[in-house]
C-alpha cells in the first residue's frame, strides 16, 4: 500500500504523540518552575508512544506520505527499542546527580527529539528522509554531549563529536548524491529497480556505498569511524551516554539494514539476500574486514582503560563489530541475530551505565579506584548487578549476551565465515580480561580507608533490578524475544 499525506496520519500516531510531547515540553518549559515535572511528562509521552507502537505492530506493510516513510514490523521493532531506551534514559536522568546541573527543560526536549530522529532513521524509505533522521539524531547528540556546564571535558567531547559527525555526514551525503546520479531517484524502490537493470558503474557504485557506509558506521561506532566514541562517552552526562551507546547503535543498525537490504538487494529463496548492486565486487569481504578490525581494535584498546565510561566506550566499539558479523552472511538468520543482539545489548549496556551512574552519584568519580571493594561499601546490590551485566557483555552463559553471541556466531558458521568466527571467539576471551577486572575490583579488592560508603540511588533501584532480571531471564528463556525479532524481519519490499 502506498498512502498520501492525510491518509497516512492514521498510521503515524506514535510519531505524532512523540512530536506532540516535544512541543508541549518546549512550551511548558517557559511556564513551569518545577522542572522535575518535565521528566515525568516526557516519560508519560514515551510510554504512550510505546503503547501506540506496540499497537501498530503487525499492520500490513505500508508506505506513508508519498513513499517517504515505511511502516513495517522492522521499523516498528526499532521504534520499540528506541522508546525503551528513552524510557530507561529518562528514568536514569531523574536519579542522576550530573543531570541535575544542566538545564533540565532543554535536556528532556533535546533527548526526546533525539529519539524522534531515530524513528525516522529506522523507517526512512527515501535517502532524503534517511539523511534528515540521521542529522536530527546527530545534532541532538552534540547538544546533549556538551550540556554539562563548566565542564571542559563535556565541551571538548561535544566539539570532537561535532567535527567527526560533520565529516561523516558530509561523506555520506556525497555518496548519496552519487547514488542519486546513477539511479535518478532518492526513493529506495526506484534505486532498487535501477540497480536491477544494472544501472550505474560498478566502481562508482562501490565508492558511493563506502561513502554511505561511513555515515552509517559513524552512528554505530565501528572502525575506522569510532574515534569520537571514547571522548563522547566520557564527557557526556552518564544517562545520555547510556542512551547513546544503545540507541544510536540500534538506529545505525536499522538505517544500515534498511538501506543495504530492502533498498539495494533482493530477497531470494529461504531468506537469502542477493546483493545485486555489486555482483562483480566482493562487498562481503569489506564487511568481514571491517567487522574484524572493529572488534579487535575495540577490545585491545579497552584493556588499559582506567576510566569505566571509557572502557565501556571501547567495549561498545567491540560490540558494534560483533553486531556487524550478522551483515556479512547476507541472509535473514544473520539479520535476526543482529536484531536479537541489539535488544540484549540495550538491556545489559543500559544496566552497566546505570551502575556507573550510581557510583558517580555517590563518589563523584568514574575511574576504577572508585569501584574498589564496592560490594563491601554498602552497594552490594549494584555490584552484583554490575557483575551480571559484565558477564552478559562478555557473553558468558547463562546470561542473555551469551545467547545473542551464540546466534551471531551460529549464523556466520553456517555461512562458512570460519576466520571471522575464530576472531570473534578470541575477542571474547580478550574481553573477559577487562570486564572481569572490574568484577575483581568490586569484590576481591579491599576498600581503602579513604573510600567512603556508597549510598545507592534509591530511584534507580527498580530499573536496575528489572534490567538485571531481564538479562538473566533472556539468557534462559529467549524464545519469545527470538520470535519477536523473527517477526520483525517483515520489510516493506519495493
Amino acid at each position: 500500500m502506498d498512502l498520501g499525506n492525510v491518509a497516512s496520519l492514521s498510521l503515524f500516531y506514535p510519531e505524532i504523540v512523540l512530536a506532540g510531547t516535544i512541543l508541549v515540553l518546549t512550551i511548558l518549559d517557559l511556564v513551569v518552575a518545577n522542572k522535575r515535572a518535565m521528566a515525568y511528562l516526557g516519560l508519560a509521552g514515551c510510554l504512550v508512544a510505546l503503547g501506540a507502537t506496540v499497537d501498530l505492530y503487525g499492520t500490513e506493510p505500508t508506505l506513508l506520505f508519498h513513499r517517504m516513510v515505511a511502516l513495517d514490523n522492522f521499523s516498528l521493532f526499532f521504534k520499540v527499542v528506541t522508546l525503551a531506551a528513552l524510557v530507561g534514559a529518562i528514568w536514569m536522568s531523574i536519579g542522576s546527580g550530573e543531570v541535575r546541573q544542566v538545564h533540565l527543560g532543554e535536556y528532556y526536549i533535546v533527548l526526546l527529539t533525539c529519539g524522534f530522529g531515530m524513528f525516522f532513521m529506522a523507517s526512512a524509505n527515501n535517502l532524503l528522509m534517511a539523511y534528515l533522521g540521521l542529522e536530527l539524531v546527530s545534532l541532538t547528540s552534540y547538544i546533549l554531549t556538551g550540556m554539562l556546564p563548566h565542564n571542559r571535558r563535556s565541551a571538548e567531547a561535544a566539539l570532537k563529536y561535532l567535527i567527526y559527525g560533520g565529516v561523516a555526514s558530509g561523506t555520506m551525503i556525497y555518496g548519496m548524491s552519487w547514488v542519486f546520479g546513477m539511479a535518478g531517484s532518492l526513493d529506495y524502490a526506484t534505486i532498487n529497480a535501477a540497480m536491477a537493470e544494472g544501472g550505474g558503474n560498478q566502481i562508482a557504485l562501490f565508492m558511493a556505498f563506502v561513502f554511505i557506509l561511513a555515515g552509517f558506521g559513524y552512528k554505530m561506532a565501528f572502525a575506522p569511524f569510532h574515534m569520537w566514541s571514547p571522548d563522547v562517552y566520557q564527557g557526556a552526562p552518564t544517562p545520555f551516554t547510556g542512551f547513546l551507546s544503545v540507541a544510536s547503535n540500534a538506529a545505525g543498525v536499522a538505517i544500515l539494514i534498511r538501506f543495504f537490504y530492502p533498498a539495494v538487494s533482493t530477497l531470494g529463496q529461504e531468506g537469502a539476500w542477493a546483493f545485486q548492486a555489486l555482483p562483480a565486487l566482493q562487498w562481503t569481504d569489506l564487511l568481514v574486514a571491517l567487522s574484524i578490525i572493529t572488534m579487535t581494535w575495540g577490545n585491545l584498546s579497552a584493556l588499559n582503560q582506567r576510566n569505566v565510561k571509557r572502557l565501556l566506550a571501547y567495549s561498545g566499539i567491540a560490540h558494534a563489530g560483533y553486531i556487524m558479523m550478522g551483515l556479512v552472511v547476507l541472509n535473514n538468520d544473520g539479520l535476526n541475530a543482529m536484531l536479537f543482539y541489539v535488544v540484549v545489548y540495550l538491556i545489559m549496556n543500559l544496566g552497566a551505565f546505570l551502575v556507573v551512574m550510581i557510583v558517580a552519584n555517590a563518589t563523584g568519580r568514574e575511574d576504577m579506584d572508585a569501584y574498589r571493594g564496592l560490594a563491601w561499601r554498602g552497594a552490594a546490590f549494584p555490584a552484583v548487578c554490575m557483575m551480571v551485566f559484565l558477564a552478559s557483555l562478555t557473553g558468558l552463559p547463562p546470561m542473555a549476551g551469551f545467547i545473542g553471541k551464540l546466534l551471531l556466531v551460529a549464523a556466520i558458521i553456517e555461512g562458512q565465515f570460519y576466520v571471522l568466527a575464530v576472531v570473534a571467539m578470541i575477542n571474547t576471551v580478550v574481553s573477559l580480561y577487562y570486564y572481569w577486572r572490574i568484577v575483581k575490583t568490586m569484590f576481591l579488592d579491599e576498600p581503602a580507608p579513604e573510600d567512603g560508603p556508597v549510598a545507592a540511588t534509591a530511584s534507580a533501584m527498580p530499573l536496575l533490578g528489572a534490567l538485571m532480571v531481564l538479562t538473566i531471564v533472556l539468557g534462559v528463556y529467549w524464545a519469545p524475544l527470538l520470535d519477536y525479532t523473527t517477526g520483525s524481519l517483515g520489510f516493506f519490499m519495493p
Binding site: 538545564h103 545534532l139 558503474n201
Partner: protein
C-alpha cells in the same frame, strides 16, 4: 557564446574553491566561497533555471555566508592557519584519493554517459512540460508541500531543537 560563458563560470567556481582552501585568512576564504557560489548561480542561469539562480544568490551567497562571517568574527579566528595544516604522507594520500575519485567521476559521468542518463531520467520530459505550463516556483513548491511535506516538517523540528539546544549551551547559569 553560451559555451564560453559556461567555461568562464566553471573556471570561477573551481578557482573560488581552490581559493577557499588555499587562502590563509578565514575571511578571505569566505570571500572566495562567495565567488564560487555566485558563479554556480551563473551556471544555473545558463541552464535556464532562473528561480534557482535567484535562490542560490539570496540564500547561499547572501544569508548563509553572512552567518559564516558572523561565526568567524565571533570566534575571532584571525590567526594564521599554516601550522594546523597536515603535511607529508597524509597530504600525499589525500591528493591520491581525491584524484582517484575525480578520475572516476570524470570517466564515468562525463561525456556520453551523462546525456544517456538524462534521456533515461524518468521525469525529464514531464518536467520540461510542467515548467513551460506552470513556471519554476510552482514546480518547486508543489513537491515541497506534497510529496516532501514530511521531510519539510522534520526540518522544522530539527531547526527548532537546534535553537533550543544553542540557547541551552550558551546560557551557562542553571
Amino acid at each position: 557564446m553560451e559555451l564560453i560563458l559556461f567555461y568562464v563560470f566553471a573556471v570561477t567556481v573551481v578557482g573560488g574553491g581552490i581559493g577557499v582552501v588555499a587562502s590563509r585568512n578565514p575571511v578571505a576564504s569566505l570571500m572566495f566561497m562567495v565567488v564560487s557560489l555566485a558563479s554556480v548561480a551563473g551556471i544555473y542561469v545558463l541552464l535556464e533555471a532562473h528561480f534557482l539562480a535567484a535562490i542560490q544568490v539570496m540564500v547561499y551567497a547572501g544569508a548563509i555566508m553572512v552567518l559564516f562571517l558572523f561565526v568567524i568574527m565571533l570566534l575571532n579566528l584571525g590567526h594564521d592557519y599554516r601550522d594546523d595544516l597536515v603535511r607529508g604522507l597524509y597530504a600525499v594520500c589525500a591528493f591520491v584519493v581525491s584524484g582517484a575519485i575525480c578520475g572516476i567521476l570524470a570517466t564515468r559521468f562525463g561525456g556520453a554517459e551523462t546525456s544517456a542518463l538524462y534521456e533515461s531520467f524518468p521525469g525529464a520530459a514531464a518536467m520540461d512540460l510542467e515548467l513551460a505550463e506552470r513556471g519554476a516556483v510552482s514546480l518547486i513548491a508543489r513537491p515541497l508541500f506534497q510529496e516532501y511535506v514530511v521531510p519539510f516538517e522534520i526540518t522544522g523540528i530539527l531547526l527548532l531543537v537546534a535553537v533550543v539546544g544553542a540557547v541551552a549551551l550558551a546560557k551557562k547559569r542553571v
